[in-house]
Symmetry: C2
Subunit: 124 residues, 2 copies
C-alpha cells in the first residue's frame, strides 16, 4: 500500500471495528499523542485497546486524504459522529516500512469567534 | 509552483507580511472558512484585509506540508505563536490553475481529557 492508502485504511478499519486489520497497520511500538490534552499512549496493544474501549456509538469517514508519497507523513481529515453530534477531526500519521509508527489526533472543537472582525466576516 | 509549493508559500508569505505576494496566490473570489466558528469571508480583498488587521504579534511556521499533487488539495500543519502563547493550526487549501480558491482554517485548542482512560494514557 502507498502511504495514502495506509492512511485511508487506518480510518476505514477503525470504522469497521476491524481490530485485526487495524493492528496490522501499526508498528508494535507505535506512539499515539493528543497535543491538545498532552495525552500519550505507547505501544500497539494499548492503543488498540484505547480504540476498542472508546465509549459511545462513534463513526468516522475520510473526507480528505493527503500524503507525502516520497516521505513518511500522511493525514486524514475525517467526519466524526458520536451520539448524534458531528464534527471534523484530523489524524496525522508517520509511516515507516509500511506500518504506522506515530499517530497524532487533532480535535478542532466549536468556539465563539473573537470580537472585532464582524465587518469582514459572515456567519453560516 | 506545485500545489505543495503554493501551500508552503501561503504560510511563509503570511509570516513575512508580504501582502502583495500573498494576494498573488489567491483567486479574486477566494472563500475563507472557519468551521469551528462558522465564519466565512468572500473575496481576496476582504480576506487579505482580515489578515492585515489580525491583532497581536503573531507568527507562524510550517511544520508539515502535504498535497495531493494529482489533485487540488493541500494542507499545512503550522506552529502558531501569539503574544507568547504557542499552538498548532492547520490550513487546508484548494488550488485551481495555480491559485487558491478555498481556505479552511482549523484551530485545535487545548482541552481537558475526558475521564475513563487514565489506565491507558500518560500525560506529557
Amino acid at each position: 500500500m502507498t502511504v495514502a492508502e495506509i492512511a485511508r485504511s487506518f480510518v476505514e478499519r477503525l470504522e469497521r471495528r476491524d481490530w485485526d486489520g487495524f493492528s496490522a497497520l501499526l508498528h508494535p511500538d507505535v506512539v499515539y499523542e493528543v497535543p491538545q490534552t498532552r495525552e500519550r499512549i505507547r505501544g500497539r496493544d494499548t492503543y488498540v485497546r484505547f480504540n476498542i474501549e472508546y465509549p459511545g456509538d462513534w463513526h468516522l469517514a475520510p473526507e480528505i486524504v493527503l500524503a507525502d508519497e516520497g516521505g513518511r507523513d500522511a493525514s486524514v481529515l475525517f467526519r466524526w459522529e458520536l451520539d448524534g453530534d458531528s464534527m471534523q477531526g484530523i489524524v496525522y500519521l508517520e509511516v515507516d516500512d509500511g506500518v504506522v509508527t506515530k499517530v497524532t489526533d487533532l480535535w478542532p472543537e466549536p468556539y465563539e469567534p473573537p470580537p472585532g472582525r464582524e465587518h469582514l466576516v459572515e456567519r453560516y
